[in-house]
């Protein structure tokens, strides 16, 4: 026993030490991180963010330098606070508050004292900076906007949040990330790749040299400039036309799918979301729940498409062979589509419409009839609807288009399972879904989907996925934007429909003769969509939305456009003239119809928008 007490103790201690070492070195991971945190410092070299140009090479977004006043509290010496505060435009109380905040963050590490000084403030401060030990100026790069328009398309950048830092290891707290629009979709192209230098620190947090001789260091990669497909002049013009109105305008180049204008009204100036004022302004925009300026009505809003949708039903009917362009269907100022079910129409009783006339006069009776034939061609309404749905969805409706903007909506194109959910006990037939014939009822589409639909008609049966990117320097754009997407309708069926759309604008009795532009053959289709809102928990009908889709010229079309004006009443009241002015602006660069232009720019629907908010009963469609 005596002989072995010490042996035993020695072995015990050895075992305890090994146990403790294995705990420290093998099982507890926290030390590794602690070690990196206190011994290695990563210094980043940020490349300049790429510029953004419009389709004509006009610079839209560049960078501007901004200057942060930084402070390292431990290094601060006694200073002339009064003078310093004057230079920075703050009072002494503010100075103390900010200093305390910095001190709480860390006495040894620099933190931002005042963020993003203006260039003028910086100039006067810089000369005297040497007098203030512990304070220094750090240059940062901010976005600088050369346009007051297209805030919804361009997006903005701001500091990453905790979630993004966790999700994407590239980002460190305090770095910038694209938040909306182009800045978000092309974040990786625009930002480039930051370079990193890893430095070894000592216990005083001083840099003592590169970490592992710089084998982990990388060089920054420049951000790339991009050209977007917007015509900024058209965009700015459209925003002017949308003054005091709510709604969206989307213009597409049919031959490429490039978005020429993407307007949402009301909107905001992109430079509001830059620099020191960003969060204040953002909150203001975000809290405006009445105008909702951050809601992109071109991309996110979904409306019943109304009459423009009739053109698709005509095409489907031709493709399915249930009607010929010359067949006439008689309208009795409406018709009974089922026993005791009347659908009204504005045609005088006894009007015989062929397809062309039905389109330009927008006859409900005609399209109800052909829609029924399409669906009832099959034995079961289920098959009929599925087949109809297949045709409609081939135009890019009812789903995300797959465009390169970070927001959007699917819209709705009902299929059989949709009606199965709606009528669980069955019994639905073609006539149950008759509203589909005239673009009302269950169908919902966003302005960009309608613009794409119009472009598809203009192209006679195919489209390119609408996209905002035109060119990336030193890189080609995504292949899916240059792939032709064919619809289920063969090209030769488009003639009669296009002719009808042309007559909408040209012919006496057409619904939108106001959209006629001298010297340009415009094809269009008006729409008037009923819509409802919940006011004090009562479903209340509001004034109809004014809708117009158009493309021009008729041969070799250059622009397809969809215009939605919320509560603008009938299609040719607001939407058609605005669409027509946009087309004229784009195709001829100058608008000659001054009177119409002025009326549209000055026209306001504010009264209409105030009605539901007034809390009093109101009349619609006045």
């Amino acid at each position: 026993m005596r002989k072995f007490l010490l042996h035993f103790t020695v072995i015990l201690v050895g075992a305890v030490f090994l146990g403790r070492l294995s705990y420290l070195q093998l099982f507890d991971d926290s030390f590794e991180e602690l070690s990196t945190n206190n011994a290695v410092k990563a210094v980043y070299d940020y490349p300049e963010r790429g510029y953004i140009y419009d389709r004509n090479g006009k610079l839209l977004v560049a960078n501007q330098p901004a200057y942060d006043v930084m402070v390292t509290p431990r290094e601060v010496q006694t200073l002339d606070t009064l003078e310093f505060c004057q230079l920075l435009n703050i009072d002494k109380k503010e100075f103390i508050r900010r200093y305390r905040k910095a001190y709480t963050y860390s006495p040894w590490r620099p933190s931002v004292f005042i963020a993003q000084l203006a260039k003028e403030e910086y100039a006067s401060l810089q000369e005297k900076m040497h007098k203030y030990q512990g304070f220094f100026i750090q240059k940062r790069s901010l976005r600088s906007y050369r346009t007051h328009s297209a805030g919804n398309v361009l997006g903005y950048i701001s500091e990453v949040n905790d979630y993004e830092v966790q999700k994407n290891p590239y980002y460190q707290a305090g770095e910038l990330i694209g938040r909306q629009g182009i800045e978000k979709s092309y974040e990786e192209v625009l930002r480039g790749v930051k370079g990193v230098k890893r430095l070894q620190k000592d216990r005083f947090n001083r840099i003592i040299g590169p970490y592992k001789n710089g084998i982990y260091d990388t060089l920054p990669q420049q951000g790339r400039d991009i050209y977007i497909s917007l015509d900024i002049e058209l965009q700015e013009y459209g925003e002017l036309l949308m003054n005091n109105k709510r709604g969206g305008i989307v213009a597409v180049e049919p031959s490429s799918g490039e978005l020429l204008a993407l307007i949402s009204a009301p909107t905001y100036d992109p430079s509001q979301l830059v620099g020191r004022q960003r969060s204040k302004n953002y909150a203001k925009l975000h809290r405006d729940t009445i105008n909702r300026p951050l809601f992109d009505r071109g991309l996110q809003a979904q409306y019943p498409p109304g009459s423009p949708f009739k053109t698709l039903n005509a095409l489907v009917a031709l493709q399915e062979g249930v009607v010929t362009p010359d067949e006439r269907i008689t309208c009795y100022h409406g018709h009974y589509y089922a026993k005791g079910r009347w659908m009204g129409c504005h045609c005088p009783s006894g009007t015989k419409n062929n397809m062309d006339k039905a389109v330009y006069q927008s006859c409900n009776t005609y399209f109800s009839n052909v829609y029924r034939r399409v669906v009832e061609k099959y034995e079961s309404p289920k098959e009929g609807i599925q087949n109809w749905n297949r045709h409609i969805e081939s135009f890019g409706l009812g789903n995300f288009l797959g465009n390169d903007l970070p927001i959007g909506t699917r819209g709705t194109v009902p299929d059989s399972s949709y009606y199965k959910r709606m009528y669980p006990r069955g019994g639905w037939r073609a006539v149950t879904t008759i509203s589909n014939a005239i673009g009302q009822g269950e169908i919902l589409a966003s302005p960009i989907q309608l613009a794409n639909m119009t472009a598809t008609i203009a192209n006679r049966g195919y489209y390119y996925t609408p996209h905002i990117i035109r060119d990336i320097k030193g890189q080609s754009i995504d292949e899916k934007f240059t792939t032709k997407r064919q619809t289920t309708i063969s090209a030769d069926h488009f003639g009669p429909v296009i002719e009808g759309m042309f007559n909408v604008v040209e012919k006496k009795g057409g619904t939108a003769r106001i959209a006629k532009i001298p010297g340009i053959e415009v094809c269009g289709k008006t729409g008037t969509a009923e819509n409802f809102a919940i006011i004090d928990s009562v479903r209340t009908q509001l004034t109809d939305h004014s809708i117009f889709v158009a493309f021009a010229p008729k041969e070799n079309p250059k622009i397809a456009i969809a215009v939605f004006i919320e509560n603008g009443y009938w299609g040719s009241r607001w939407a058609a003239p605005i669409a027509s002015l946009m087309i004229e602006k784009y195709l001829t660069q100058e608008v000659k119809r001054d009177v119409l232009e002025e009326r549209m720019m000055l026209g306001s629907l504010q009264d209409e928008y105030d009605k539901p908010l007034s809390g009093e009963p109101f009349e619609i469609n006045q």
């Binding site: 002989k3 010490l6 042996h7 072995i11 070195q25 602690l34 620190k201």
Partner: protein, 425 residues
């Protein structure tokens, strides 16, 4: 004197020498890493710790040859004189001593310094071995016990006021030796109970501890009465035991709160987990644990330790050298050092047990006990399971006096061991 040198070398215990060499090399590599800086040039730069340590190791080799060439009998004969000389050296510090970091523990010789307390351990071991191996010595005799205690205590008493309580504490290791030589186990049991009471009192306060003591002793009393089947078992001794332990617990509390200085209290509180402090007093321990923990299984590689390079662990090349081992060589290196130490001490114990002369056995046991004490306290401190007590890790920590002191201990014993069969010729 007919032995040839080759014959003699063959008798040396090369396994011990191998362990020694491993530890010294490991030590130098880590000192090099911990003290390397940008104005370093040659390995023999005598202004840098690693350069000096290389010089110390070189001198150590000369020292080893000297120690091995001296006749074994010399150590036994001159033990008392060596002991007295070392006492004199310790005394002399009060007059000629040089103060470094607040402790007057060194003699300055040119640019070099010598720390006599590192050598006094060997001298005390020799003196104790000599006294215990005296024919007339009887360990059961209280007077002899006291004399033995005195031999151990004298240098410790001289070292405490330097102040260097850590080094003085090392002399406690001789109790292992006394126990091996037949000192009643009661001392060790008492020591064990005192230390346990000390710790639980600090953790739970004297009142709970008193209740616990009373409960346990009563339990023991009833168990004893049942098993012994004695009709009458006096309760008096048990009551006495309770009283003494309760008094001890309260006095610990008193001493801790009123006699100890705040820094001592802090050190205990941190190890006992009663206070968390990573910036002030707990900085060392925390940083050394970060360094060791970040080493992982294989370590960051020699000269690649970020904590070591950043100099986050104070005193890293001296008392905290083990944190460099842990960071740069990982679990493999640190565990390896622990295993080599354990094997070395076990090997020394085995060698001690095989000695024919009591002098050699006592001395060998002393060497093993002293190494063990340093090993426990130093590594225990660095990995955060013992309070901060600044004593070096043998063979590995930077420092000439410490390296030479341990080298002397080890090689005198190896010489004695090699000579063990000659005793009877």
């Amino acid at each position: 004197m007919s032995r040839t040198t080759g014959n003699f070398l063959w008798k040396l215990d090369w396994l011990t020498i191998l362990f020694y060499a491993l530890l010294v090399c490991m030590g130098w590599l880590n000192i090099y890493s911990a003290s390397l800086n940008e104005n370093a040039n040659s390995l023999l730069d005598l202004t840098q710790p690693y350069g000096k340590q290389l010089f110390f190791i070189g001198c150590g080799l000369v020292l080893i040859m000297l120690l091995l060439s001296i006749e074994a009998k010399f150590y036994e004969r001159f033990a008392s004189i060596i002991y007295l000389a070392s006492l004199a050296a310790l005394l002399g510090l009060f007059i000629f001593g040089k103060t470094i970091n607040g402790a007057t523990s060194w003699y300055g010789i040119g640019s070099m310094t010598l720390q006599p307390s590192e050598f006094a351990k060997a001298a005390t071991a020799l003196a104790l071995a000599k006294y215990l191996s005296d024919m007339q010595f009887n360990i059961k005799n209280l007077k002899h016990q006291l004399s033995a205690f005195l031999i151990i205590a004298l240098p410790a008493i001289l070292i405490v006021p330097q102040p260097d309580p850590g080094s003085a504490l090392v002399y406690g290791s001789f109790f292992f030796v006394l126990h091996r030589e037949g000192l009643s186990g009661i001392y060790l049991i008492l020591a064990f109970i005192s230390i346990s009471l000390f710790i639980v009192t600090l953790l739970f306060g004297p009142i709970y501890v008193s209740i616990g003591i009373a409960f346990l002793v009563l339990l023991f009393f009833f168990w004893k009465r049942k098993t012994k089947k004695k009709k009458r078992l006096s309760f008096l001794p048990f009551l006495g035991a309770i009283t003494v332990m309760v008094a001890f617990s309260f006095s610990v509390n008193f001493v801790f709160n009123n006699v100890f200085e705040q820094r001592h209290r802090d050190r205990f509180n941190i190890v006992l987990g009663k206070s968390v402090d990573t910036k002030g007093i707990g900085y060392n321990t925390n940083q050394s644990q970060i360094a060791i923990g970040s080493g992982g299984f294989t370590g960051k590689g020699w000269l690649e330790g970020t904590q070591t390079k950043g100099g986050f662990v104070p005193e890293q090349h001296t008392d905290y050298i083990f944190s460099t081992v842990g960071e740069e060589f990982g679990f493999l290196g640190a565990g390896g050092v622990v295993i080599v130490f354990t094997l070395l001490i076990l090997r020394l114990l085995t060698l001690a047990e095989r000695q024919k002369s009591q002098f050699s056995r006592v001395f060998g046991y002393s060497v093993a006990s002293i190494l063990f004490f340093h090993f426990v306290i130093n590594i225990g401190m660095v990995i955060g399971i013992l309070p901060t007590i600044g004593i070096p890790l043998p063979f590995i920590s930077y420092g000439g006096s410490s390296l030479w002191g341990f080298t002397i201990l080890l090689f005198i014993f190896l010489k004695l061991d090699a000579n063990r069969l000659n005793e009877w010729r």
